[in-house]
Structure formats: structure tokens, C-alpha cells
Amino acid sequence: MRRWSAIPGLPPLLACAGLLVLWELAARGAHIDGLPPAHQALKQVPAILLDRESLFHIADSVRRMLIGFALALAFAIPVGLAMGRSGKVAAFFNPLLMVIYPVPKAALMPIIMLWLGVGDASKTLVIFLGVSLPLIYHSYQGARAVEEKMLWSASAMGMNGLQRMMRIVFPASLPEIFVGLRTGLVLALITMVTSEMIARQAGVGNILFNSLDMALYDRVYAMIVIIGILGFVLDVAFERIRAWFVAWADSQHQIAVGTS
């Protein structure tokens, strides 16, 4: 017995269609100036994507986001793995991370801009900060759960500490690390949009608020849709990669522990 909901990709598509219909109906029913009907906003999507300047802004944002994400990756995974395998390292970092956890990272933007100026460096640094925390947390959890016996047999085979880390701990923690990566990627997008909204210099977040200021409401909603699609596509693409790498671990929608 195959239910319709078992066909891959169909339920999310139906959900999108349903949400759009709901929007269209709400807009027609409510007659608010600030809520144009869905079809009107959607017409603006290709207009934005074909406009060289906004496309440039979007591409620039995504580039910064990916750089910030990559830097966080290179920093956070080794730290998380080391914390997971050594009680001392964990005791060293844990209180610091606990203190940093509730700090709104994107809110550091004005302060960092004082130090580093309004350029790429500030925005990338903020994204790096936003993404690092969940990545460290999940690498830590993954490494902590590695079975002691696996490491014993590795030592018996003559592996040294670094080799054990690279060849046993890292692959064994991979499922958990991927959960962190996925959370981190969505978080990178969130931090990127937020910091651009705060800095109001360039990028996706800036387009959003400029359109708002100029009362181009269709454009505001079109931009929201584009960012929404970006978030969803990144998530799905990442889920694919994850499933391919760690087919042996179960896949469920994990709760994001990260905060922007």
C-alpha cells in the first residue's frame, strides 16, 4: 500500500502550493496595503533575479556566507572533537561556550564594524561566530559518544593520538557533525540576512529594507520568497549530501540548537 505522502518531494510541493493559495486568499480578503496578493509578488521574483545589480548583491551575500561557513568549519570541528575526547579541553571551553550561547551574534555587527570597517571582513566574522557554536556543540557530542573499545583496538594496532583522531573519532562522529553542519548552514543564512539588515550597507538584507523604505511592497515579498527558497534549497541539498556520506545513520529532522 503506497500512500501519496510516500512519493518523495510531493508533500513539500503541495505544502508550498497550499501556503501560496492561503496567502493569495488572505491578501484578497484583507485588502491591506502591505500585503499584496501572492501572484503579484511572485511576478517580481524573475525581475529581481534578472536584474544585474540585485543578482550581484545576492551572489555577494552567498559568497560571504560560504566563506564564513568554511572558516567556522575549519575551526569548530577540531575544537569540538578535541573537547569530546579530552575532559580537560571540554572543561576549558564549556563555561566559555555557555556564556557565549545567549549572546545575539548578529548584534555584534555595529561593534565589529567599528573595529573592522563596513567591508566584507565584519560580515564574514559575524557569520563565522554565528555558525561556530552549533558546529562545536555537535562535533563535541559526536566525539564524546565514540566507543572507547574502538579506540582501544586502534591503539592496539599502533595508531598514535592524531591518527586515532583522524581515522576513528572523526568518521565515527560524522553523523553528528553533519547535524551540526546542517544547523550551521541554515544559521549562516540567518546570520547573513540579519547582519545585513542591521548594517544596511549591501546584500540581501539591505535590498529587503530598501524596498520596504521605498514602499515597493511586491519587491519586499518577492525578496522574502527568494530568501525562503534559498533556505529550503540549502537544507534539502545538504540533507542529500549528508545522506550520501553517512547512509548508515538514521535521518530525522534534528532540533536546531544554534542561535543567530
Partner: protein
């Protein structure tokens, strides 16, 4: 246990102390101009001063109001939808795909829409907080509720409890550890989001104070609201953990 905890605590304080010392060193040896990085003592003094300032407290109160209103809505909606999805096939096949689509969307992008629809005042900020805190709570409730041991529910049904009542008194109760974890994450997210929303567009609240200070280049005043909101997040998190421990007496998974 106590013999081990003490050195570990010291080890944990070390990086925090190092950062503070570095901060102090940078300012006292004039390596950073005070306009960019004020000395830590100045920030601390200003923080204490502001905590006795009624205007500052008024802003803090506004922020807290938005925070709790949004968080309460998120809890109510998230727990209800999560329970519904876990208990009915029909609800599940409607809620699951919508959550799948909306959960990875950066909710902050919806903020302009909320402003357009709900106005510049409290409502748009509360809506954003609710939207952001909703998904972790919903997902945690759903995951907790579907993994409740069915025999717990059966035991209640056999004793004469109705299905509807068992959903609240048994399923929700048994899923409480997971639900509360989701709520705790949602609470910290609420704390952060309300601040960011106030920074982006507001005329009051802690986030507004930061932006206001940065426009007038009052560096010390930029740090104070940021530290205040972080301390609020930290203490709300700790308070929630304490509440969680009390509520979860008896559960094997409560530490």
C-alpha cells in the same frame, strides 16, 4: 566528585579570565582607542549605573514583554500542533510537509512582512519572536510524543481515561522532557530574536538602545544593552533548567 569539580571549574574560568585580561591590557596600554574599545571597568560601572536608571529599566521591560508574549504564543501553538501531528494521521500529513518547508526558512526575512501587516509597534516583534521560537518547540514536542511508549497510553485507556484526555495527561506528560528541551531552546532564541528585531527597526527596547548608542558613537552604551540581553538569556536559561528539574522529578532522563 567535589575533588574533581574544583580544578575543572578553575580550568573553565581560565579562558574567560584570559579574555577579560586581554581586554584590560588592550585598553590600559593604549593599544585600542577608547572610542573603539572602552575599558572593561567603564562598561561594568555603566552597566551597574544603568540597572538603577528607570528609563533603561523601562526599555528592558518593553523587551521582556515582547519576548515573553512571543515565546508564550510559540509554546502554545508549537505544543498544540506537535501533539496534533503525533496523534492523528490527517493532521500529520498536513503539518509535516509545511514544517519541512518552513523550518529552514530564515524567519528574520519575514520581519518586513510582519512590519507591513502588523505595524511598527509590539505586534510585529512579537510575531517574529513567535515564528522563530515555534519550530524547535513544535519539532521537539512531535518527536517526544511519537516516541512515548504506547503501553503507557494503553494503561491509561484501560483504566477508563478517554483518548482525548490521555493525549494531555499521558502523552504530553510522558513527552515532557523533550518538550521542555524544545522550549528552552525556543526561549534563548526568543531572547536573541527580540533584540535583533529591536535593532533592525524600533524606537524602544534594549536593541534600540544599542543602535541609538552606535549612531551617537557612545561606545560604552553599545556594550551595556548587549551584555544585559546576554545576561537575561543566561539567567532565563538557568531558570528554565531549574524549572525543568523540578517538573521532571521521577523521569529517568532528567539529570
Amino acid at each position: 566528585m567535589t575533588q574533581r569539580a574544583a580544578p575543572e571549574l578553575l580550568l573553565g574560568i581560565l579562558p574567560i579570565a584570559l579574555i577579560l585580561a586581554l581586554w584590560q591590557a588592550l585598553t590600559s596600554f593604549d593599544m585600542a582607542p577608547p572610542a573603539l574599545l572602552p575599558p572593561p571597568m567603564a562598561v561594568f560601572r555603566r552597566l551597574v549605573e544603568q540597572l538603577g536608571n528607570p528609563i533603561f529599566l523601562q526599555h528592558t521591560f518593553t523587551t521582556l514583554l515582547r519576548l515573553f508574549a512571543g515565546f508564550a504564543i510559540a509554546c502554545l501553538v508549537g505544543v498544540t500542533l506537535g501533539l496534533m501531528a503525533s496523534s492523528s494521521r490527517v493532521a500529520e500529513s498536513a503539518i509535516r510537509p509545511i514544517v519541512r518547508v518552513l523550518a529552514p526558512v530564515p524567519k528574520i526575512a519575514l520581519y518586513p512582512a510582519f512590519i507591513l501587516i502588523l505595524g511598527f509597534d509590539h505586534a510585529s516583534k512579537i510575531a517574529l519572536v513567535a515564528a522563530d521560537a515555534l519550530f524547535p518547540i513544535l519539532l521537539a514536542t512531535y518527536q517526544g510524543a511519537v516516541s512515548v511508549e504506547p503501553k503507557l497510553v494503553w494503561s491509561a485507556l484501560a483504566a477508563g481515561t478517554t483518548r482525548r484526555k490521555a493525549l494531555l495527561t499521558v502523552v504530553l506528560r510522558a513527552a515532557l522532557p523533550s518538550v521542555l528541551t524544545g522550549c528552552r531552546i525556543g526561549l534563548v532564541i526568543s531572547c536573541i530574536v527580540v533584540f535583533l528585531a529591536e535593532m533592525i527597526s524600533s524606537t524602544d527596547g534594549l536593541g534600540h538602545l544599542l543602535v541609538y548608542a552606535s549612531r551617537s558613537f557612545e561606545t560604552v552604551d553599545m556594550y551595556v544593552p548587549l551584555i544585559t540581553i546576554s545576561l537575561l538569556g543566561l539567567s532565563l536559561n538557568a531558570g528554565f533548567n531549574a524549572l525543568r528539574r523540578r517538573l521532571l522529578a521521577g523521569y529517568p532522563e532528567a539529570e
